[in-house]
């Protein structure tokens, strides 16, 4: 199971087509992967498990989201006023 995700991470080129977001507006695609990364981290660390699978979401949101947006959200997370539910 973990080697599947490691294969995918090793062969990562760019964010693949996501059928949940088939249209021109990819804003939600970026935001959803950012949320999923943090939620995945939170869920797996609570269970005491390895967080390697969460790296997929990180690679995808890093590919899709503008650097400025990511920095702003990271600052908001640190300050505790991030608008999304983690």
């Amino acid at each position: 199971m973990s080697d599947v995700i490691e294969e995918k991470l090793k062969n990562y080129r760019t964010a693949p087509f996501d059928a949940r977001f088939p249209n021109t507006n990819q804003t939600r695609n970026c935001f959803q992967n950012y949320l999923d990364f943090h939620r995945c981290n939170k869920a797996l660390t609570e269970k005491g498990q390895d967080t390697t699978p969460c790296e997929w979401y990180q690679r995808v949101y890093k590919s899709l989201c503008p650097i400025g947006w990511v920095q702003k959200w990271n600052d908001q997370l640190e300050a505790g006023n991030f608008p999304g539910k983690i």
Binding site: T14, P22, T27, L64, P66
Partner: protein, 230 residues
């Protein structure tokens, strides 16, 4: 790039633009033929000495000038829809590049592997080097590998802009807070120019776009160099 006294599109640098170009030629030829026919008929009508005051109807010509236009419209619609669906195909991109519009420059981000980001300002007219194009060349070009499907994600930091490169057949609005996706493949190496296509203030005409398509090895060398410089 565009040149003086240009009438048609710029040479296509992507498969989609090629299709659009050929479709445009096809539709325009039909339009020219119809216009010529109509103009000829008008001139013929106006200059003839023949008259007939007693024509009431004519089934044959009515049928012809109903069926023929319908056929012509189908001949235009079929390639048009073909291209429409072709442009809508799900593609599997090799690379994602973000283009973000600011007043008044573009910034490009390549973040699939490392975090590479840089700004692209127009070269002011007084600083042009010999051979550079006025109002078109920029200090940093957006370099892409040839023959790779590229996913562009276009956004803006302040007001509306629009990222357009005619020879690649791409134009996409840059909206603050929104990420718009466009895709293209650069079929051949070359330098392709575009300009900001949405009203964004005093210097809309002075924030051009330059895409440089190069073989993959050159792209890899360029991105390593850019990362070092950053």
């Amino acid at each position: 790039m565009a040149h003086p006294t240009q009438l048609g599109f710029q040479d296509a640098a992507s498969p989609v633009m090629e299709e659009l170009l050929h479709f445009h030629d096809h539709a325009l030829m039909i339009v020219f033929m119809i216009s010529t026919l109509v103009l000829y008929i008008i001139v013929a009508m106006v200059t003839t000495k023949l008259t007939n005051k007693y024509i009431l109807d004519s089934q044959e010509i009515e049928i012809i000038w109903t069926v023929l236009p319908a056929l012509i419209l189908i001949l235009i619609a079929l390639p048009s829809l073909r291209i429409l669906y072709l442009m809508d195909e799900i593609n599997d991109p090799h690379l994602t590049i973000k283009a973000i519009g600011h007043q008044w420059y573009w910034s490009y981000e390549y973040t699939d592997y490392e975090e590479l980001g840089f700004d692209s300002y127009m070269v002011p007219t007084q600083d042009l080097a010999s051979g550079q194009f006025r109002l078109l060349d920029t200090d940093h070009r957006m370099v892409v590998p040839i023959e790779s499907p590229i996913r562009m994600l276009i956004s803006a930091e302040d007001v509306l802009h629009s990222w357009a490169v005619p020879s690649l057949g791409v134009k996409m609005d840059a909206v603050p807070g929104r990420l718009n996706q466009a895709a293209f493949i650069a079929s051949r190496p070359g330098v392709f120019y575009g300009q900001c296509s949405e009203i964004c203030g005093a210097n809309q005409s002075f924030m051009p776009i330059v895409v440089e398509a190069v073989p993959l090895e050159h792209f890899e060398k360029w991105s390593s160099l850019m990362l070092e410089d950053a």
